[in-house]
Symmetry: C2
Subunit: 195 residues, 2 copies
């Protein structure tokens, strides 16, 4: 089985989106600041580009598990090919047919994270499974099912929004820092979850 | 006037103490994990020792402003000489005589952070003023009175406790990362607050 990996851009005060996330505002109010480093173009830092390229590389990542809100606000921006080019599993309470967008498939899973993980593992083989969405991350973390956390730490205090680490188990979870990459604007921190 | 500096050990999930802080438990339940890196002794990392030595060095820091809770839980552990060896100003609602412990003085300030800052500035001259306590930090940050933030990022998720960044202003506060020191166990991140 591949590793279960969380890769998030987070403000120093712990937010991964601004307040009032919605279809018209996928990153919440002001939250797009957290993803500025992903924009390619003149002036962008090659160290950021390197980390960005790792995130959903099909060579190393074989499946995605995401929450329903992430899917709902992402579907538009992700376009006709679904962006990911791999099987995606959406945690939801509502049954729906699998949606095919080019090489990307969105399968709706109504029976919880264990089922989503089993399906993602079957699809990913030895490759990583990438989690998306704070709520999904919290569920996997609390269940002891997360192997690696990469935080792209953005030097801003948002003051309000969606916290990444909230409602997690209250037992301590020790991490091992395995990599630090300093780009001009971002501190990319990788941790292994110790179990 | 010197810089107003905040220097805190924080878990990756944003806590600077565990839950239920009290005189018998100054760092809250399990919160002492956040200060393990400050213990000197065999096996300690010289990069940690370097950062620790900076924190309250009398060569560069001239005064401390802290909250009443920090004073109450700290007074015992700080010992007969008060540890700091400089003027300390305690934000409180209760008038009290200045307490002298060797070269350390604790002056109780009942008229808010502006008054505490003015008194600390008068005492510190060109040296830095060091803040202590999450609530005090939040008040200075929200008032635009904080110049520098050093976070000693500890690779643990505490799950519960005292959050550093909470109840702050909801306007975005941009930071500039000015230094990263990676020790074996801690990522020491220094930021300048942009105004």
């Amino acid at each position: 089985m591949g590793k279960v990996v969380l890769h998030m851009s987070m403000s120093l005060d712990g937010f991964v989106a601004g307040p009032n996330v919605g279809v018209d505002r996928p990153m919440g109010e002001g939250g797009e600041r957290l993803h500025e480093w992903l924009s390619t173009g003149s002036g962008s830092d090659p160290r950021d580009a390197e980390v960005a390229a790792e995130m959903f590389a099909t060579a190393t990542t074989g499946a995605v598990v995401m929450g329903k809100r992430t899917f709902t606000v992402g579907e538009g921006p992700w376009g006709d090919d679904g962006t990911f080019g791999m099987p995606c599993f959406v945690l939801t309470h509502t049954r729906a047919e699998t949606l095919v967008k080019g090489a990307t498939t969105f399968t709706f899973v109504t029976d919880g994270i264990d089922s989503a993980l089993a399906q993602a593992n079957a699809a990913a083989g030895d490759k990583c499974i990438n989690l998306m969405g704070a709520n999904t991350a919290q569920q996997f973390l609390s269940a002891g099912l997360l192997d690696e956390i990469q935080i792209n730490l953005i030097p801003i205090l948002l003051g309000d929004g969606v916290r990444l680490f909230e409602h997690t188990a209250t037992e301590h979870i020790e991490l091992e820092r395995t990599r630090v990459i300093e780009s001009a604007g971002v501190t990319h921190l990788k941790f292994r979850v110790l179990k």
